[in-house]
Symmetry: C2
Subunit: 409 residues, 2 copies
């Protein structure tokens, strides 16, 4: 398989250390050769945690592990391996999680329940636990505050570029930092989260406030993106607050004090989610779909996702065809209130169809030019109400078939 | 665009005349060159009708027309054009339907409301009404009882082979015939029906009985198939009973008297639906997914359709990879009750995964051989209850991208 970097790739931002997080990656040889595939984060004592996971009904053992660990509300370590998802592995998979957590807990000096685990890669194959646990001591010894890029690279599978985002915000006058990394490229139709994403902040936040912020942020970012409509068994977004920043105490309910922090977190989540879309398997174009005029925001988001998931819309975009007919079809198949005769569609800012028909004298020239670009903007006005929503996706190309039609990718 | 015949194509059966139906096709030049694109059926006086249509919320003008006409319960003619779907065409589209029905009604000597209309092809372009109505008199003059194959060919768009099915059954000791034609290849995820399908029987059946039979039959045939998860704006299945056969009167409720007829109708519907799947855009393999052990039959069908719609399962099949991991993912994403640790999966009759893990000593050899064939059988046992259901689909190949990624296909 060639591993050409996505034409939609974005550059990794500069990633400053974040107080209370040391991290790194090593090559454990679990599946890949000559690359890092095992990542660890060590978190300062007192770190709170929130998590959002796949809604897939056949989740992997690590997702079960994290859901249970999350009840404690505290985190001291994260262990992530790439190449084997530890999904559909039965009792052996659960034992791998327990052994991994025990080994990491010994190194860090914490309870196994404070260790979070994530795995990504092939489904249905046993994970060689010993290779993982044998590599942990060396990995732990090398952890550092400057390991963010190494970690972002170590969790990649079919990703063609590493994904990270960072932002700062003020809480009660004090500056705090938020930094996150993510991986994901295919099996992306997150229904609470997407493939793996780990975010940390040095803010000191109660787990309840953290949870509220994360759920809100994920709804408008990861859950508004899709590559191929397939929901992974391993989707995991974890947000850690190390509490190392010096700011006034934040109440459990969060509230106005966290307004700026919430905006910064939303921006980090969206950056990471869109980086995953930009690395969508085989993607050649990045597509934003804005729906307005829906009866509710929820309805607008459903319509936007129906368009984003339509293979016929996505292949038309790959073919640089502003095929509004397929957009009409996708709007209609969403099952949400829609009136064909009030529907308007713009591509690249040009309204080509309005109130149920082609705009008279419609000049295709600027739309054709827009379709040749890398960033495609589709706007849909349902003409019914005030609900608005956005979805992001990529096109569907031969590259997707190449990547996924080869044996046991 | 090359128009190589699908490797999964089935031969057209011999299509005997059906009493009360005369049909044919001509080249009206609406969009295609050098092929027939306009089809007409004339039905004997007294013909009853039932219909099932797309659930797409942006249906075409012909679907609206048929829904209204269906209220009368009587049919004397059908006019179908291929190449232009008359969808998202506003008032002009409605006027085209009215003009078409008026012209056909004059030729046949019936009310416009007894004329059924269907259009298939590109969405969002005005249909040149005059070319259609101008071609009708010549078409009508040439209608004959032996026109079934011509009609099956005349309604094709991206189809690579014509689709028809026929069966006989006995009602109260008398033999009746059922014959149908269908078209469809892409934008196939029927949610009540699929692209165009017209079936006639010479039985004399009340519209209410006909409706009941059709709805039941469509649920287990067209609605259990998918090519690309996209629900067309034009899906139409019409069933006509000409009443020319001599059998005892059938009550409106139908009942036991129609048991054999229902079986024969179901077989015709399934034949036609599966022919559409076999002509799925770019298809190289025909896939049957049987789910059992679900909590209900409805749940089993939803799981089967989730597997059938998964791009990752479909590309794996194209790559001849019996990738059970992706099947596990697709089962889980259906959102139906499932327990990873009770899940079993067979491919080609070989149980490769049982009770949540790979079968010990699993020998891949027969499965690899099965995956190289044209007909792929996937069995899934959820291990929860007695619900069973089946879905049919095809694989997802470069051919699909070729067909749909070219400009304005």
């Amino acid at each position: 398989m060639e591993t050409k970097i996505s034409p939609l790739a974005v550059k990794l931002p500069a990633l400053a250390p974040l107080a209370g997080v040391r991290l790194g990656a090593v090559a454990a040889g679990i599946r890949y050769r000559e690359r890092t595939d095992l990542v660890m984060l060590e978190l300062a004592p007192g770190t709170s945690v929130a998590g959002v996971f796949t809604r897939n009904r056949c989740p992997g053992a690590p997702v079960d592990w994290c859901r249970a660990a999350l009840k404690g509300g505290r985190a001291r370590a994260v262990v992530v391996n790439a190449g084997n998802a530890n999904v559909f592995t039965g009792r052996a998979g659960r034992e791998t999680c327990a052994a991994t957590a025990a080994a990491a807990a010994r190194l860090v000096g914490c309870k196994p329940g404070e260790v979070f685990i994530a795995s990504t890669g092939v489904i249905g194959e046993a994970l060689p636990t010993e290779r993982l646990t044998a590599a942990l001591p060396g990995l732990h010894a090398g952890l550092g505050a400057d390991g963010w890029e190494a970690a972002a690279r170590g969790i990649m599978t079919t990703d063609t570029f590493p994904k990270a985002a960072t932002a700062t915000a003020r809480i009660g006058g004090a500056e705090v930092r938020i930094t996150g990394i993510a991986k994901g490229s295919g099996m992306i139709a997150p229904d609470m989260a997407t493939m793996l994403c780990f975010i940390a902040t040095d803010a000191k936040l109660p787990a309840a406030a953290l949870d509220k912020l994360l759920r809100r942020g994920v709804a408008g970012s990861f859950n508004a993106t899709t590559v191929d409509s397939d929901t992974s068994t391993s989707d995991t977004v974890l947000l850690f607050a190390t509490g190392q920043a010096r700011h006034p105490r934040v109440p459990a309910a969060g509230g106005a004090m966290l307004r700026e922090f919430a905006r910064a977190l939303d921006a980090v989540l969206l950056d990471l989610a869109l980086a995953v879309v930009r690395d969508g398997e085989g993607a050649s174009k990045f597509v934003r779909i804005d729906v307005r005029g829906a009866v509710t925001a929820r309805s607008a988001r459903k319509v936007a996702m129906a368009v984003a998931n339509s293979p016929l819309v996505k292949t038309a975009i790959a073919g640089e065809d502003a095929n509004w007919g397929r957009i009409v079809m996708a709007v209609g198949k969403a099952g949400e209130p829609a009136d064909r005769d009030r529907l308007s569609i713009a591509v690249g800012g040009v309204w080509m169809a309005r109130d149920g028909g082609v705009v008279p004298g419609y000049d295709e020239t600027p739309v054709v030019a827009h379709m040749r670009g890398r960033e495609i903007a589709i706007e849909i006005d349902l003409g019914l109400g005030k609900g608005a929503g956005t979805a992001w996706t990529c096109d569907l190309t031969h590259g997707y078939i190449d990547i996924n039609g080869s044996y046991r990718s």
